[in-house]
Amino acid sequence: MISWPIARAAAREKLRSPGILAIGLCFAAAAALSGRAGAPREAFGGFGIAFLLVLTLALGAGLLAGELESGHAQLVLLRPITRAAWVGGRLAGAGIALAAIVVAAWLAAAGGAALRGGQTLSLSAFGVLPLAVLWGFAWLSVLAAIGAVLPGWTNSAALVLAGIAWATLRGTLPAALGHPEWAAWLAELSNYLGPQDPLQLAFRPREGLGTALYDLSWVFFAWLVAVLLFNRRELARRRA
């Protein structure tokens, strides 16, 4: 399902990108300034969560298309490796890079909090780490699925545009059509249009578990869709 040599190479490649390193540095700096040990939402809240989102978009941009368009993917896929394992490897590699930067940001947050004489680190402060990675990884899977059909970095651009379009629709449609009660339905619908924020599990283990599992299912299903779409794209390219 996952080619680990591909994953390691993808992680190395991502972590050497100046753009991603710059975002990671900003993320760590924001976490260090806003983090209060023992309050994980603050470590990854505010600017922190915005940087996590930007980081995920940057890591997912051209995740599959970059390799395909350079032609290197063709050489790799001539090796004894399945297309599914290649997609899994690229995704896992981006996930490793994401996890490395999230850990660095968390350490910066903990360090910043300690310097300011913050609280002792609690279990929930540690719990925020895998949850933040899960959230980012679920979105990376979505980006991989979109990237299996779109060229270059346009998968991230398409996701951002879709997000803006949905937010605009949600904000304006009920009033424009004279149905203010739709606002609540649209808000409810939003909870199913992509991975949700699982960080609440760090505070409320019982209530937050559903969201975390929901995000986990997004990882799996989006990866599956990515593999199916990539297969279709490859077979179409070969026939063309």
Binding site: S3, P5, I6, R8, A9, R12, E13, R16, S17, G66, E67, S70, G71, H72, Q74, L75, V76, L78, R79, P80, I81, T82, L235, R238, R239, A240
Partner: protein, 318 residues
């Protein structure tokens, strides 16, 4: 690895299964003007273990497409390709194949060594062995120093060498090389020639697409002339032997003595042409000419024969 010998199923008559066999391959691309371009049309040929086969033809003859069809990088509209008697997409078949594309591109941030180690791991070598193998093959293709730099900094020739190292990395039993000498300096071309000879010596099958006729003539056992996707003719290079062309200072006085000493040769103007079995025969021939009284200005191992054939077959010139 299987040391170059095909282990796939043999035919009922126990003929060894060819490393590569394509039968009636046809590939048609849609053209920009709305019509169709026939890239490969009814192509049938084989490459056996221990054989170097060259593909020759003008640009657009279908050589690269033929290679990509053979590897299942493209699907044919008709016909089929078999590697070691099996479908090219089978993972056990892929382990035995190396391919160097024309003008390869690589991830810009990874070094050549990292890319080589990655591919070695994909071929099933453990991580530590993969790193050692990467260094060995980088050295083998004269790429040891650039291999430590990110691939984004490579020149065309360096990328070509990396592509070649990647193709040879798994000691493949079948190697497909698409314009491997493009962008290489003369030393690189010579190293490539030695590599091809060593591949043949260890029993690998090689399909070579090159425009360098002299190189093709020197290393190939067989040459396939392609034009507009069709196989025009197969030429057995080894069976035909080589030819030496000697430019004489005193051709007028040498007609008689040469006809007596070397009757298989022909004298035209100041050029004396002699067929030889191999390069090894050239020093003895020169001694024989000098002994017969010939003044020698220049000795050339002819590559012109293939060139003439090429012009005659592909370009239709007399």
């Amino acid at each position: 690895m299987t040391g170059g010998q095909s282990t796939a199923t043999s035919s009922p008559t126990s003929t060894p299964t060819p490393a590569l066999e394509v039968t009636d391959l046809r590939k048609v691309y849609p053209s920009r003007k709305g019509g169709q371009v026939v890239a490969v049309d009814g192509l049938t040929f084989q490459v056996r273990s221990g054989e170097v086969v060259g593909l020759l033809g003008p640009n657009g003859a279908g050589k690269t497409t033929a290679m990509q069809l053979a590897l299942s990088l493209l699907d044919p509209d008709a016909g089929e390709a078999r590697l070691f008697g099996q479908h090219p997409e089978l993972l056990q078949v892929r382990r035995r194949v190396g391919y160097a594309p024309d003008a390869p591109l690589f991830p810009r941030k990874l070094t050549g060594l990292q890319l080589l180690a990655l591919h070695a791991e994909l071929l099933g070598f453990p991580r530590r062995d993969a790193r050692q193998r990467a260094e060995r093959f980088a050295e083998q293709v004269g790429f040891a120093d650039p291999a430590r730099r990110p691939a984004g900094t490579y020149s065309r020739g360096e990328a070509q060498r990396l592509g070649l190292a990647l193709a040879l990395l798994g000691d493949p039993d079948l190697v497909l090389l698409d314009e491997p000498t493009a962008g290489l300096d003369p030393a690189g071309v010579a190293a490539m020639r030695e590599l091809l000879v060593s591949l043949r010596a260890r029993g690998a099958a090689v399909l070579l697409n090159s425009h360098l006729l002299s190189e093709v003539e020197r290393v190939c056992d067989r040459v396939l002339f392609l034009k507009e996707g069709r196989l025009l003719r197969t030429h057995e290079v080894r069976a035909g032997g080589r030819r030496v062309e000697v430019r004489l200072v005193n051709p007028a006085q040498m007609a008689g003595p040469l006809a007596q000493a070397i009757p298989e040769g022909t004298l035209e103007g100041d050029r004396f042409r002699v067929p030889v079995a191999s390069e090894d025969a050239v020093p003895a021939l020169v001694r024989q000419l000098v002994a017969a009284g010939a003044g020698i200005l220049e000795v050339r191992l002819a590559g012109a024969e293939l060139e003439q054939l090429y012009l005659q077959i592909v370009e239709g010139r007399a």
